[in-house]
Amino acid sequence: MNLIEISNLTKKYKNLHAVDNASINIPEGKIIGLLGKNGAGKSTLLKCMLGFLKHEGEIKIFGETLSKHKSSLHNHIAFIPDVSSLDDRLTVQQTIKYVKNLNPAWCEKTAEKLLLQSELPLKQKVGNLSKGMKTKLYLMIILSLDVKILLLDEPTLGLDIVFRKEFFNTILGEFFDETKTIIISTHQVEEVEHILQDIIFIDKGKIVLQESIDDLKSKFKTVTISSDREAELDNALLKMKTLGQVSGIVSSETKIEDAIEAKPSLSDLFLAIVGGNHA
């Protein structure tokens, strides 16, 4: 069952196509990665999904067509935008109380547990918190909501590596079950790769690929050979040179003698399929 169905979605800013004729389906019970370069249209796509932006094309959420923003949608969908958009004028305690009173999906038990882990200064104004602390607070609030869909746009921006690991390895895992769907848009693809089930590549507003990670990885492989045999990788989707060796992403059916074969990483696959030098 698809929770979100998007057909021919287009969002223009003057002459720029931020999202260009995008069609994707988001099934229930999956953790999906949304990967694209800076300015590829990831954030715009997520905002369109929530009806925040006017758009062309059709978006169906829970089977219902969404033509503009509907507040009732947020009973089932939680969202973390790419910039810390918490209200700096409130204290940490006031922010928590505000969401708790406003959102029926609030789960006090989870909140208490997460609050204990996060060590947030309750009396401090949000505006006085560091970027990392703000992100922690936002994550703590959003993960305390018992919702069906979680949209995370660069959710760990500004966080230290310890909390980032803990978030992706433990906290998010505790939130997730087969009835929930999580869409993560992130640049730190290596950190989320192991928890993702599906992947969407977006480039210049167009959806380049939507596939399960397992299927995608089974179609390609990384082969490594010595540099003097570089010509054998001329047809590779991506070539990477290292000291005395050259690696390439090739189709899984390609046979190269005496090559070291490995499963490709998601970032290498992104570079191979989308191109460019960074994801």
């Binding site: 905002k47 958009s85 109380k97």
Partner: protein, 273 residues
């Protein structure tokens, strides 16, 4: 209702400092008065006569005018702060970069706008009434030493004046709120600037071509301020008719309601970036 209460509380937390500024200004004013009074008292070489009202037949008009006038200063602060809060009501979240956070909550735009409108308006009303009551007690306690206390006229003066300010604040606040839905920055100044420009153009066209084009600016001025209510000043029986239960009050409420509805509809249709 539970959600609306949460919104009201949040908007109160956010605006608390601004709402309390008139109280601090009035406290400063009182402090200055006390210091100057004490300074004058201890430094004056001659005996001071604070008030001399010998031979007055009735003190009613004095109590009325004194109580009517004492609201003027806090009333002006009230209008300024009402405009200040209301003109940014629908833009402040965007400026503070937290619009996405607030709009990602399951609460309707009518509730969001209603809460901002109420806190901006009723919050300022409450401050004005609070300051007014305090002034009323202090001033009448002092005056009662020198004149026979006339509670009825003192109260009528106070009530009359405060009602005029509350009504003016209602319309001015609603206009500022509406302008905040249209303009992102300096909403009130821009809106009034445009209206003034239209007013000048209308006057010029009327003068050149002999037309009789109506001016929206004149209409808003007439609807906002309550000059004609100052007739029959101290007659307590005219208060209900002249200040509360009249057609103009009804128009003012209708205009404010209409401006609120329009503002919310504009807010609802805005893109959230």
């Amino acid at each position: 209702m539970h959600k609306f209460k949460a919104l009201l509380l949040k908007d109160f937390w956010i605006n608390k400092k601004t709402l309390l500024i008139p109280i601090w200004i009035m406290a400063g004013f009182y402090l200055l008065m006390i210091i100057s009074g004490l300074f004058a008292y201890f430094n004056s070489s001659t005996e001071m006569n604070f008030m001399q009202f010998d031979g007055l037949e009735s003190t009613s008009i004095i109590y009325y005018i004194a109580n009517f006038s004492m609201i003027t200063l806090p009333g002006l602060f009230f209008l300024l702060f009402t405009i200040n809060i209301m003109q940014s009501a629908l833009n402040e979240d965007r400026k503070q970069n937290c619009e996405l956070f607030h709009r990602s909550m399951p609460v309707s735009e009518w509730h969001i706008c209603g809460s901002k409108f109420l806190v901006g308006l009723v919050g300022n009303w409450a401050v004005l009434i609070g300051i007014g009551i305090f002034n009323f007690i202090v001033m009448n306690s002092i005056m009662a030493f020198y004149l026979n206390f006339d509670f009825l006229h003192a109260f009528v003066g106070f009530f009359h004046s405060i009602l005029l300010f509350l009504k003016t604040g209602l319309v001015l606040g609603s206009i500022a709120f509406f302008l905040s839905a249209i303009f992102k920055e300096k909403a009130f100044a821009r809106g009034i600037g445009i209206l003034l420009l239209l007013w000048i153009v209308t006057k010029i066209l009327n003068a050149i071509y002999g037309w009789n084009l109506p001016s929206i600016f004149d209409y808003l001025i007439e609807m906002t301020f309550n000059f004609q209510s100052l007739e029959n000043l101290s007659d307590s029986t005219t208060i209900p008719k002249n200040v509360i239960l009249n057609l103009k009050t009804l128009y003012q409420i209708i205009i404010s309601g209409a401006l609120f509805i329009l503002s919310t509809l504009i807010y609802k249709n805005r893109e959230i970036r």
